[in-house]
Symmetry: C2
Subunit: 549 residues, 2 copies
């Protein structure tokens, strides 16, 4: 079996300008970054093209293959002669050197060249890092230059695209009088920066500037918010992002056009690619396949209630990816025997799939297909059981073999999706903008997560007051909780129900334009592992890379 990177090295890629031609892009619309990647001019008109959202059941330690399925589905639509474009997130560089590795699909459903995508790509993450850290430098410089803004409590953190736990909690400004003002600080990974969320939610350069101006970075000594506009550097920050805001054109190894743009965390942020890229894809193709982070209760909910609400979008069909392995895991199968057939565990764990189907089909009112990402060790009895379960719930299930077969392995899914797309589409938002923040969180937690009750801890209660006093109750909520369960407890597998849902804290993101509800511990700066992937990577004298997963 070839490794992922070997498969991409064997693929014959097309020049990216040829991929652009398939989308009708003119020469002037394309800024090449080498032969296989390009920045393109955003196209932001209203469009009647079909938007297909790929989401999944709750993640497990084994991986469900959501991106592989997204790529495979787009390649399948391409095979069927449809004018299709993928709209995906950019992977973060830091985790590539840790355990996680890159994120460009897998097997025969991949984006390529994968080393480009997983390393610096077109520099968007670096631009975001610079923009974030210019704000930090301006804050610390203002403190140092006699603090004219009377900065007191600083909310803004530095960032870096690296797995580096030693930077989580630091003290800066320690050298002496000439070396800044001593204070506690920390670095988040770039994907967790509010700038990343802003880039993904901005609808134009002017909107980007307004959002950046509105970032709340600190409170002054009277408790009044200080914004980036008060630091006087909103334009400079925007200047650093002038290219990063343009979507990146890329391709699958089957030459399906792909816009890869933006990569916000799916906990502290909304976890989807940029609005600009999604809209551009809809302008350039008839079918757009996109995805949202983590399971549907987190990713699809934010996709709809944050991204779609802000952008005036709706998914015309939704693909819910699952695996028999992850359903068995949800049915408490032994991890060491997860590949062994186990109908007992499957029957118990399939409730997880059921919960996601119910939410997507009945609560959000979406056209839905289940994609079973098939592995070699899955047996027919198990597959048939899932198919019948889906049928009983009123949805079709397609068997997907994209990892092994590329687009061909996704033709059944593509056909089911095309059928769903013939139905009228419609989306129910879970809350209204006019609901206050407490109501919004409560609606998501009870209606989507399945909580009986929502408990707001003291810190969260005091923040609710702050939010109201600042007039920010109209913002959507971005809930940061564990991705492993419907609930806020990673161990409650299956279809958790009847639990109490705790909100510990709320964070105000006036730039991105949402309120983060912190429900559990959220990790914003990963660490490297005992034997980091960095140690297994090789590059030869011709620049050929191996060991990049």
């Amino acid at each position: 079996m070839l490794s992922d990177i070997e498969i991409t090295h064997q693929a014959k890629l097309e020049h990216i300008s040829k991929i652009g031609e398939k989308l009708g892009l003119k020469e002037d619309d394309i800024e090449l970054y080498g032969k296989y990647k390009a920045k393109i001019t955003p196209h932001l008109k209203e469009s009647n093209s079909k938007l297909i959202l790929v989401t999944a059941t709750n993640p497990t330690p084994f991986g469900e293959g959501k991106t592989t399925t997204s790529i495979g589905l787009a390649d399948a639509l391409n095979l069927l002669g449809k004018k299709v474009c993928l709209a995906l997130r950019e992977p973060s560089l830091g985790p590539v050197f840790g355990i996680k590795g890159g994120a460009a699909g897998g097997g025969y459903s991949q984006l390529a060249p994968m080393e480009d995508l997983n390393l610096h790509f077109t520099g968007d993450f670096h631009a975001i890092t610079s923009a974030n850290n210019l704000i930090s430098a301006m804050i610390d410089n203002s403190l140092h230059q006699e603090n004219p803004l009377k900065i007191d409590k600083i909310l803004w953190k530095r960032c870096m695209d690296m797995n580096d736990r030693a930077l989580r909690f630091i003290t800066v400004g320690q050298g002496g009088k000439a070396d800044g003002v001593e204070r506690e600080d920390g670095f988040n990974i770039t994907a967790a920066s509010e700038i990343m969320a802003i880039l993904c939610l901005a609808t134009s350069l002017a909107d980007l500037k307004e959002k950046i101006s509105n970032i709340m970075v600190a409170y002054d000594i009277d408790g009044k918010p200080i914004y980036v506009r008060d630091l006087g550097c909103a334009d400079a920050v925007c200047i650093l992002l002038k290219d990063a805001i343009k979507p990146n054109l890329f391709q699958t190894i089957e030459h399906t056009p792909t816009l890869v743009h933006g990569g916000p965390f799916a906990n502290i942020a909304h976890g989807c690619n940029s609005i600009i890229a999604t809209k551009t894809a809809l302008n350039l193709a008839e079918y757009v396949v996109t995805e949202a982070g983590f399971g549907s209760e987190l990713g699809a909910e934010k996709f709809i209630d944050i991204k779609c609400a802000k952008a005036g979008l709706k998914p015309d069909a939704v693909v819910l990816v699952t695996t028999i392995r992850s359903l068995k895991y949800n049915g408490n199968a032994d991890k060491s025997e997860i590949s062994v057939p186990n109908m007992r565990a499957l029957k118990e764990g399939i409730a997880n799939l059921g919960g996601h189907i119910e939410n997507l089909k009945d609560k959000f009112g979406l056209n839905l297909v289940v994609a079973l990402n098939k592995f070699g060790f899955d047996v027919d009895d198990e597959i048939n059981f899932v198919r019948e379960y889906c049928a009983k719930m009123g949805v079709k299930m397609a068997v997907c073999e994209n990892f092994a077969k590329g687009g061909e392995g996704g033709v059944e899914l593509a056909n089911f999706v095309l059928k769903e797309l013939k139905k009228p589409s419609h989306v129910n938002f879970i809350y209204k903008a006019s609901d206050d923040i407490k109501t919004k969180i409560t609606k998501v937690a009870t209606q989507i997560y399945g909580a009986d009750d929502v408990i707001f801890e003291d810190m969260a209660l005091s923040k609710l007051d702050k939010i109201s006093s600042l007039g920010l109750d109209n913002l959507p909520v971005c809930i940061a909780k564990t991705q492993y369960s419907f609930s806020d407890d990673a161990k409650l597998l299956g279809r958790a129900k009847g639990f109490k849902f705790s909100v510990k804290d709320l964070e105000i993101r006036t730039g991105a334009g949402f309120i983060v509800a912190v429900c559990g511990k959220i990790m914003l700066m990963p660490g490297l592992s005992k034997k980091p992937s960095a140690m297994d990577m090789r590059i030869d004298e011709n620049g050929v890379i191996s060991g990049l997963a």
Copy 2:
């Protein structure tokens, strides 16, 4: 008068592939980064083309226009029908937001688009930042994972391309047991990173890997050096630099081909563009104009004794840039009246020019022309005085008006240079590789700087022993001292002589392959000013930038 950025916006640039054609580059040699910048394949054969080094008298607060003169000279050679290529350094992003602004020449002798060059360009600095910080993350991870290498004293610092004084002295790893090991650390600006020096001194990807492997990052508890190769991440670091090592093709506003590649500090490092770019330029053109940082006693010395010695290069002619203003400053003219004619000050200060001429012509044995960068307020008497002074010293002086007139303003200089290039060329190195470090420093300080005596302080003496015991006496020395004087005292203007030169400390750079002699305070992380340039920058809704200097 138009601002620099306005001048570049009025220029009609050529598509960068057309600039590449002028150099005989084939389509496969060029990786476009948009329309106006490209990465090109290195060309590293021996070449008989002519290498012209542009250096200067000691810097003053007013600026001498060295890069403007380099660009103007190349444009003039281009006007005269010569096949010419510039080989310059990349500017650092951080200072753009502080006081200094960008670095792309000025007036009508500029590189363009200047916002591209001064912002992210082709991402080289970001790649170097990532590479540097991956090493830091690996060190801190090793500490955290039970410290198998028994790391004790860490030499390696993090870096960021930002003017951020608060990061000079920090403490990392403060969160608790899961958040790394607490220790003192700091960030240098990216241009001061050893990785930057390595990138500029590497002669191939294989050589880059070897140099990175050899970086000494720490001592273990037994005082034994720990290298990047011991961390096991040399390949991963190299992978991050696989594109950064390729030269960047750019153009002047008069369409002269320019390779802009690498930007190491001229104190802690050698302050020249990359060997790979200089050699590639020599392969692609008949005349190559390059420059070295600060005044000739620092920049030209390192260019010769470090870069040329390592690369097997020699300058066929040298241009020594000066201004009447800077010579008057060296003659203790009042700063507030520096633009007023002042023969007394000029006569006193011209000794500075004399010292540089003597060094370049007599000590290094180089073919030399003086370029007087003329300002509107310079009067004929002053200009004639400098010309006659040069004549007495046996060198021609050309009046340069590149800022106001572009290449046309450099034709006299170009013609003088072409004459020098007809002479045989030859270079005297100041020291031999076999001299020990103490001897090397002493030779440079006495023969080039003009010191009577060299004092090695205690710390330096103990490091001399360490260097000998590690067998590193064969390395060249990279002296870090003030750029404002021949001496180590910024206030000794003119032709300082007969001073005692103090060496405080020595730093071992086994990756870059030199020993840094620290002679005075060296600033490796600048700060922002009271009103940073960032506050004056603007970008409109179409992405047009103003206020970027």
